[in-house]
């Protein structure tokens, strides 16, 4: 049985025009499977973010196809792509992108609200998601009163709460110290292994390698290497990964 939830085939992407044109992706084949945390690593300008945007249905490829949970993104218009994101994808951003005027619980609940899930049930789900990331005590706190690590945990709760099959995380530990980075990666790895999600983390950060099930390297718009992760998250002490 093919348990791939994301399939990208022959993805090419040209950015810019004329003399400034850049081949950001030059034919990428990639699949993400449920229950697996995949790291996408590469130097700056290698095409990591472009690939993440295409897999996240925010950018259309110049060539090739991307399929999310069996739905091809090729024929979808902007609203159609938004629906694919809404139905299947949760995002974790490097700079959190929380709503500063909403409490932690409301920030999480917003992900349900845009899906039409409202009322007490939605509030309960949001609280449960915050409990999952260890922030149940901070439910009524505004993001400005939370530490960077706490804000990223709220962002992860927001990404998980609607139960998406894919989590796409962009440098989730880049702005965090070691302890917080370890905590965040632990939560993402749990999401993959215990909740059967496909998790793709774009990163430069070598400290998070031990959390990966699979590591994909990208360079000059091409996937140049793939290997299994250094250690299975479930089998290694989380603290050991970060110096």
């Amino acid at each position: 049985m093919n348990d791939s939830i994301v399939e990208a085939k022959g993805i090419k992407k040209t950015l810019g025009r004329g003399a400034g044109q850049v081949q950001a992706l030059r034919g990428v084949d990639l699949s993400l499977k449920r229950g697996e945390l995949t790291l996408l690593m590469g130097p700056s300008g290698s095409g990591k973010t472009t690939l993440l945007l295409i897999l996240g249905c925010m950018l259309a490829p110049s060539a090739g196809t991307a399929t999310i949970a069996g739905t091809s993104t090729s024929a979808a218009d902007k609203e159609g792509l938004a629906k694919i994101r809404r139905d299947h994808i949760g995002f974790v951003f490097q700079t959190y992108h929380l709503f500063p005027t909403l409490t932690a619980a409301q920030n999480v609940q917003l992900a349900l609200d845009i899906r039409g899930e409202r009322g007490r049930r939605a509030a309960k789900k949001a609280r449960e998601a915050l409990t999952m990331v260890g922030l149940e005590q901070k439910a009524n706190t505004l993001p400005g009163e939370l530490s960077g690590g706490e804000q990223q945990r709220v962002a992860i709760a927001r990404a998980f709460v609607a139960n998406p099959s894919v989590i796409l995380a962009d440098e989730p530990t880049a702005a965090l110290d070691s302890d917080n980075g370890r905590t965040i990666m632990g939560i993402l790895a749990d999401a993959a292994h215990e909740r059967d999600r496909a998790v793709l983390v774009v990163t430069h950060d070598p400290r998070i390698l031990p959390f990966a099930d699979r590591i994909i390297e990208i360079e000059d718009g091409r996937l140049v290497g793939e290997r299994r992760g250094g250690a299975e998250h479930a089998r290694m002490p989380k603290a050991a990964a970060f110096p």
């Binding site: 973010t49 993440l52 945007l53 996240g56 925010m58 950018l59 902007k78 609203e79 938004a82 629906k83 694919i84 994101r85 809404r86 139905d87 994808i89 995002f91 951003f93 490097q94 700079t95 992108h97 709503f99 500063p100 005027t101 909403l102 409301q106 609940q109 917003l110 992900a111 609200d113 845009i114 899906r115 409202r118 009322g119 927001r158 962009d170 440098e171």
Partner: protein, 377 residues
């Protein structure tokens, strides 16, 4: 409850200075429109006050008469022709016209004479607060509005003055019969009115027709029209409408009031549009995040529309409070501002439309959001 309203209200209240600026814009706009329209309504009522208080089923007027104050005259011989129509109970001549009121000091002030046959009670002074209307049957008697005491140079009932060289004595006082022209109305008996306005005995300004109780109004109207086809025969509603139309639109006064109201709407719309656009611009990264999370455009629009509606409701409540204060203050003035429930409802609808229309610019900006911007570092 959806978080849309929460998000909209937090966006709105987050920047208090901008919120206050928005409210000032809305309040300024709504109060301006309210006052202009209130003046329009007040003016519309004042110009028909005599028609409203006349006990008439029909008005027979000289051809082309534009309003109650029109100085044209008709021949009273026609009175019998009208009275002969089956269903007509009475035909009463009315004499009106400008005249001069000479004070004891020798100063002269213009006045507007209203003279009807008192026995027929077709157009009598109302709101009489002192004295007796019946005293008008005596020669040289008048009834004046007490708020014009200063203008008329008198201070109480029993005071005397001269109209067109004839000595007159104030025998009663009214309260609240103010003229939109600011020229005081002077109520007199029909016979005296001719003397004070220099109108010949066979002439009158109009004929007030009253029907018998069982008359078929439509057929009597047609019969009267047929009898006096060289005169105007109008129902009170038609006469009101003609007077309003002359004073409000024929003179340009109404157009000026409407122009002020339209200016208010434009100013309000521009201010709200600017502040809403600037608020949306400040929150673009949040809207991009919503879009990246997969929210529909409709969800994002609803946040902006809710912001506009909150602006509208809060702004309108403040504006309405100020508007009602202005109504109280002007209640006794020469031109009171009139605010009716329909005007309030219409203004609320206008405020909502104005604020929602103002959201268009912000929505157009949001439509162009690229959700990928949330990945820019």
């Amino acid at each position: 409850m959806s978080l849309v309203l929460t998000l909209a209200s937090r966006n709105l209240f987050h920047d208090r200075l901008r919120f206050v600026a928005t409210l000032v814009g809305i309040v300024f706009s709504v109060v301006l429109v309210m006052i202009q329209m209130g003046l329009f309504l007040g003016f519309g009522r004042m110009v028909t006050t005599m028609i409203d208080h006349a006990s008439a089923d029909l008005w027979v007027l000289p051809k082309g008469a534009k309003c109650f104050e029109d100085p044209s005259l008709l021949d009273t011989k026609l009175r019998d022709k009208v009275a002969s129509v089956d269903g007509v109970a009475s035909v009463v001549p009315l004499v009106i016209g400008f005249s001069d009121w000479r004070l004891e000091s020798g100063e002269v002030t213009p006045v507007f004479i209203v003279g009807a046959d008192l026995r027929d009670r077709t157009l009598q002074p109302w709101n009489v607060v002192e004295g007796d209307v019946r005293a008008l049957s005596q020669t040289g008697t008048v009834i004046v509005e007490r708020s014009y005491f200063d203008r008329l140079g008198i201070s109480s009932i029993g005071a005397t003055a001269e109209i067109r060289g004839r000595r007159v004595k104030v025998v009663a006082l009214t309260d609240g019969i103010r003229s939109f022209t600011t020229t005081p109305y002077i109520f007199v008996d029909l016979k005296n009115a001719r003397n004070y306005t220099g109108t010949f005995p066979e002439r009158a300004s109009s004929l007030i027709v009253r029907f018998k109780p069982d008359a078929d109004r439509a057929s009597v109207l047609q019969a009267v029209k047929a009898k006096v086809d060289d005169l105007e025969v109008l129902t009170p509603a038609e006469f009101r409408s003609r007077s309003r139309s002359f004073w409000l639109f024929g003179t340009g006064a109404g157009a000026a009031l409407f122009a002020g109201a339209i200016l208010g709407i434009i100013v309000g719309t521009v201010i709200v549009a600017q502040t809403l656009y600037s608020s949306t611009k400040d929150h673009l990264s949040e809207f991009a995040t919503l879009r990246a999370m997969g929210s529909s455009n409709a969800y994002i629009y609803s946040v902006i529309i809710y912001q506009a509606l909150l602006n509208a409701v809060i702004g309108f409540i403040i504006a309405a409070a100020i508007g009602f204060g202005v109504v109280e203050i002007t209640a006794k003035s020469a031109l009171p501002i009139v605010i009716t429930p329909w005007l309030v409802a219409g203004l609320f609808a206008l405020t909502v439309i104005m604020c929602v229309a103002s959201a268009v610019g912000a929505i157009v900006r949001v439509v162009r959001i690229d959700p990928a911007t949330v990945f820019m570092r």
